[in-house]
Symmetry: C2
Subunit: 202 residues, 2 copies
Amino acid sequence: MARRRRAEMLEETRARLIDAARAAFAEKGYAGASMDELTARAGLTRGALYHHFGDKRGLLAAVVDRLDSEMAARAHEIGQRHTNAWEGLLAEGGAYIELARDPEIQRIVLLDGPAVLGDPSQWPSQNRCLLATMTTLETLSREGVVKPVDVEAAARLVNGAALNAALWVAASDDADVLERATDAFRQLASGLLTRDSSTTEY
Amino acid sequence: MARRRRAEMLEETRARLIDAARAAFAEKGYAGASMDELTARAGLTRGALYHHFGDKRGLLAAVVDRLDSEMAARAHEIGQRHTNAWEGLLAEGGAYIELARDPEIQRIVLLDGPAVLGDPSQWPSQNRCLLATMTTLETLSREGVVKPVDVEAAARLVNGAALNAALWVAASDDADVLERATDAFRQLASGLLTRDSSTTEY
DNA sequence: TATTTGACATACACCCCGTATGTGTCATTA
DNA sequence: TAATGACACATACGGGGTGTATGTCAAATA
């Protein structure tokens, strides 16, 4: 086995720690996760952890950042599948709702994240999901499909509604809740449409 | 000074603990608040706390329950001021946004609450805010002002949007953010209107 | 090869929660 | 009114967890 370069090992330990933390935080919650146990499962000790991430919060921030990226990528990719931009926006919202059914995302990003790291809109990850929604809205606004709205404000509310719906869906076992939530989401979102588009498309 | 009845004292210690906890949780956050310090400030010890509330979570639940009641009462009262039910709903949403600017509500109900107690819609407080919105929507639906929506789903999304907007408003210092948020909220909410009402009233 | 840097491990101190146990006071009953 | 039981709260203890200070050893550099 060839000797690996130092930088490679460094990146690998970081990744191992983040993976272990992701699993531990998802399973036990942030407060319930023990750093000793977590690092041990990664074959390391707390020393490595504090060296790389400063403290427990820093580790959570790193985990959230990765999850946030994955979410944005998936949601945006789903949105892109639609040629119709408006349907794309709706699909994007629906994607958030479905994404948040993932217990990891639920627990880490939606529950513990805000409590420990503060308001998501201030996260260094820039809340990539929000940015994605904003660009989509920007396009739709230029095309005259949606009213000339304050793009940032609208994007925040749309995402907020979607995420809240996601929590609801996740907490209830009913299968039809997902459909009820997405339907309501479509109705709400239609409030952004211009009157023209609302008659033709909705 | 007349001797007070035992039940009175019991209620008073409960209230003192809740008040102290409310202040401590708001200032230091749930995790950062020490039970020793908190109870000492109330002139008691942890013994009283565990006797009345079981554990730290129980105390938070009690605090949240009180805050939730206060919020619902205020929002509903504001909504009642409007004779027009639709304007009442909008005002109610706006009230949530303003209420959530209160640092206590922000930190305790919106951030720590969900992380520690789980999804708000499962709280024993029944999420009074949500119920208030649902009844309002129910009325509007019967009157034909809003489309025949799934009342619960719509209420959840509307509230979610409002609360998310509140976090945004609270985190940013800009004065005009509040107006931008409320405007966007009105637009979004208009998606629930029937076409008739949307032409006459909006 | 000598030296220095840095990635990690080890050890220590402090804090905090939950529980088990003790104590005094108030209601109740004879 | 004296005894008894329940209850509200205080005290004491044990376990665990975080953060920091210190040590160690390999890799990079000259």
